[in-house]
């Protein structure tokens, strides 16, 4: 049995431990909530994490292209990117899998080639996670910009259409210290 086969045989246990390790990155008392609450609407974080980790592990073991897994990585990173994590904390969840595998398999008996191969794939997952993390940050900036543009764009449209001075005498439409 090669490494992948023995991991596939133990997939359920590995998935559970991996998910646990990811949940454990949350404050102690929240971790157990994320683990135990099964309602996907009451616990969207736990739900998305469990489902996506399952798909990622599947892909890793069946040898699919890392890029094909990016949608699932995104589902997790999307959440972690807005939560209280530093960038490495948010994006390094694939690395946690290494420890789970090391604990689960007698690593010394695994041919180095096979291990390096798997490790490389996990590392690529991590890099992909970093890439998506950056993408999410960019998306948030984009959203911020868009919101700003939307409100200003509207004012400009209005000014052009009506020749209006938009706010009490001020000519600067960005003097917009609040919106609803």
């Amino acid at each position: 049995m090669n490494l992948i086969q023995s991991l596939t045989a133990k997939k359920a246990a590995i998935l559970r431990k991996w998910a646990d390790a990811v949940f454990d990155t949350y404050p102690g008392d929240t971790a157990a909530f994320l683990r135990s609450e099964k309602d996907r609407f009451a616990n969207p974080v736990g739900y998305a994490t469990t489902i996506s980790l399952d798909k990622i592990l599947d892909g890793l073991l069946t040898g699919s292209d890392i890029h094909a897994l990016s949608a699932y990585i995104e589902d997790i990173i999307k959440i972690r990117a807005v939560q209280d994590f530093s960038p490495p904390q948010a994006a390094s969840f694939p690395l946690l899998l290494k420890k789970v595998i090391i604990d689960e398999i007698k690593i010394a008996q695994v041919p180095a080639g096979e291990w390096i191969d798997l490790e490389t794939r996990i590392d690529s997952l991590t890099l992909s996670a970093f890439e998506i993390y950056a993408k999410m940050q960019e998306k948030m900036h984009h959203i911020r910009m868009k919101e700003l543009e939307k409100s200003e764009g509207f004012l400009i449209k209005l000014m052009e259409s009506r020749g209006a001075c938009c706010r009490d005498g001020s000519e600067d439409p960005s003097d917009f210290n609040g919106c609803t």
Binding site: F33, P44, V82, D84, F154, R167, D168, G178
Partner: protein, 541 residues
């Protein structure tokens, strides 16, 4: 950590583990994206807030007044004497935990201090320390905490992470309402001069100009004329929009976001078209040009001050009654507070729909009717001609905005209107709608851009339910009746579930409304083609 050589195993473990702290430790870190900026000096002064100064939550020294402790404790005492709710809610919580997982901020952030019970404990622990024998004697063991600057910072962090949506209150066996707790927490913060720009700014603007957006009267008029032009472009009908018209039958008050922000703007078009079509004798007001009330997010007195304009203006204009637009916290104030604050409105008359003759019994004292109640009544009496197929490009779901849901009980009217104005309507999962609706995460003054990460956390539970109906039914439109929803959902949904847009219920109504003498409509209120697939033949089923 960095200078130590780590084994791969250790590498995989580096600082993922959260700090194992106790909640009584008040230390918080103000990270970018998770807190609101402080109110600038000029706005603090405009509202005559205590301890005005230029400051920033990231400062080490918050320049609190020297006697901040006495101020806060005195403020607690004053409120204990004035509010039974405050006294009671501090005393009777049994920490059963029923509320713990009901808060959208807890669900989305995973931060245990966002559990409603704990948010209240942040105040309760200080209350115990200074007001109860057990707390005084036992200290930490009795669940009591000393009030210090760290606690003030913690309060600022967490009381601006509660959107006062009241969801937890519905599940609490004693009805303990975290909205009340948060309101008091913010009032106490206010006493020592800690308030946010995004609340104080609009509130001070509203005080002076009559609306949060600081739109002066002439600009408001231009905005309304612009709206009329837009409507003319879409329907070919020219509409005069009445402003400050004395002797009109009805004063119409709507959140100012409707005048200047998209997509709320399209809802405004919907109102104006509707009022024109039924020939309503109404007027907008520039002085009372704000239905929303950011004073509510500062404290009851500020809410009362801003709210006073609605009655004052309806008295000045001599209207018979007041009609209110789509808004969330606005209706919290109008339904539960206005009459008490600034009533009695006995110079007005009991609202009667001039079109159907329906008497609005439920508004007989306050004399203010919700636009959804008004429109549902019109549709029920067949006073409107509607063509729901004009909304066929939308597969619609409805988000119950927190305040109309849990403070008013307005559930059926908007659904009735949507069902008459649209052909495709799908409900979100049961435990995320009606009285169990999830907040958008930006209510109660949490909506500034700098707070985006926090808002995205808070909005995740709502978005995950939207995503569910999007994936299951192809829903692409979230209808709602709240101006803050209309401002906060577009970015929220773009992040969490792209492909779903946001609209007010009256935008959808405006689309469906067949107006007398209108030209064949080619676009909807957004200016998008009505039937995008029509020219290519009838491929759609």
């Amino acid at each position: 950590m960095a200078d130590k050589k780590l084994t791969p195993q250790e590498m995989a473990q580096v600082n993922y583990l959260p700090p194992a702290g106790d909640w009584m430790d008040p230390t918080v870190e103000f990270k970018r994206g998770t807190y609101c900026y402080a109110a600038p000096l000029k706005n603090q002064e405009a509202l005559q807030l205590p301890n005005p100064r230029q400051w920033n939550p990231q400062d080490k020294d918050w320049k609190l007044p020297l006697d901040f402790k006495q101020l806060v404790i005195g403020g607690m005492q004053e409120r204990l004497d004035k509010f039974r709710s405050w006294k009671l809610f501090l005393d009777i919580c049994v920490r059963c935990g029923a509320c713990a997982d009901k808060c959208h901020f807890f669900i989305g952030s995973g931060d245990p201090k966002n559990m409603p019970v704990l948010r209240a404990e942040l105040l309760r622990s200080v209350y115990r320390k200074y007001f109860t024998a057990g707390g005084k004697a036992l200290g930490k063991l009795g669940g009591a905490r000393e009030l210090d600057e760290k606690v003030i910072k913690e309060w600022y962090y967490y009381f601006y992470q509660c959107s006062e949506c009241r969801r937890c209150s519905v599940f609490c066996p004693y009805g303990i309402d975290t909205c009340e707790i948060t309101m008091f927490g913010r009032e106490l913060l206010n006493l020592v001069g800690c308030s946010t720009e995004w609340v104080v700014g609009p509130a001070s603007s509203c005080f002076r100009t009559g609306n949060h957006l600081a739109i002066p009267p002439h600009a408001l008029k231009q905005s309304l004329e612009f709206a009329a032009d837009e409507i003319e472009g879409i329907t070919g009908i020219k509409i005069e929009v009445p402003i400050n018209k004395k002797g009109a039958e009805i004063l119409f008050v709507t959140p100012s976001g409707d005048f200047f922000a998209q997509p709320a703007w399209f809802t405004l078009l919907g109102y104006i078209m509707l009022f024109h079509e039924i020939g309503l004798d109404y007027t907008f007001s520039t002085y009372a040009s704000e239905g929303g009330n950011f004073g509510l997010f500062l404290g009851a007195d500020y809410a009362k001050s801003l709210n006073a304009k609605i009655y004052a203006e309806s008295r000045r204009l001599g209207v018979k009654w007041v009609l209110g637009g789509e808004c969330g916290h606005m209706w919290r104030v109008l339904h539960q507070y206005m009459d008490t604050f600034n009533g009695p409105g006995d110079f007005l008359q009991q609202p009667v729909s001039p079109i159907t003759g329906t008497k609005f019994e439920n508004a007989r004292s306050t004399k203010m009717v919700h636009i959804c109640e008004f429109t549902a009544d019109l549709i029920y009496h067949h006073k409107l001609k509607l063509d729901p197929s004009r909304n066929d490009r939308w597969k619609v779901t409805f988000h119950d905005s927190c305040n109309p849901a849990r403070s008013m009980g307005l559930f059926e009217e908007p659904r009735y209107i949507i069902n008459k104005a649209c052909n495709h309507f799908y409900e979100m999962p049961e435990n995320t709608i009606r009285e169990r609706t999830f907040c958008c995460g930006s209510g109660a003054g949490l909506g500034p851009d700098e707070n985006l990460e926090m808002r995205l956390r808070g909005g995740l539970p709502r978005a995950s339910a939207v995503k569910y109906v999007r994936d299951k039914h192809g829903v692409n439109m979230l209808a709602c009746i709240c101006a803050i929803d209309k401002a906060s959902f577009p970015p929220l949904l773009e992040y969490w579930c792209p492909g779903v847009e946001t609209a007010g219920v009256h935008e959808l109504l405006g689309n469906a409304l067949i107006m007398q003498g209108e030209k064949t409509r080619e676009t909807d209120l957004r200016g998008d083609p009505l039937n995008p697939g029509a020219e290519e033949g009838k491929t759609d089923v």
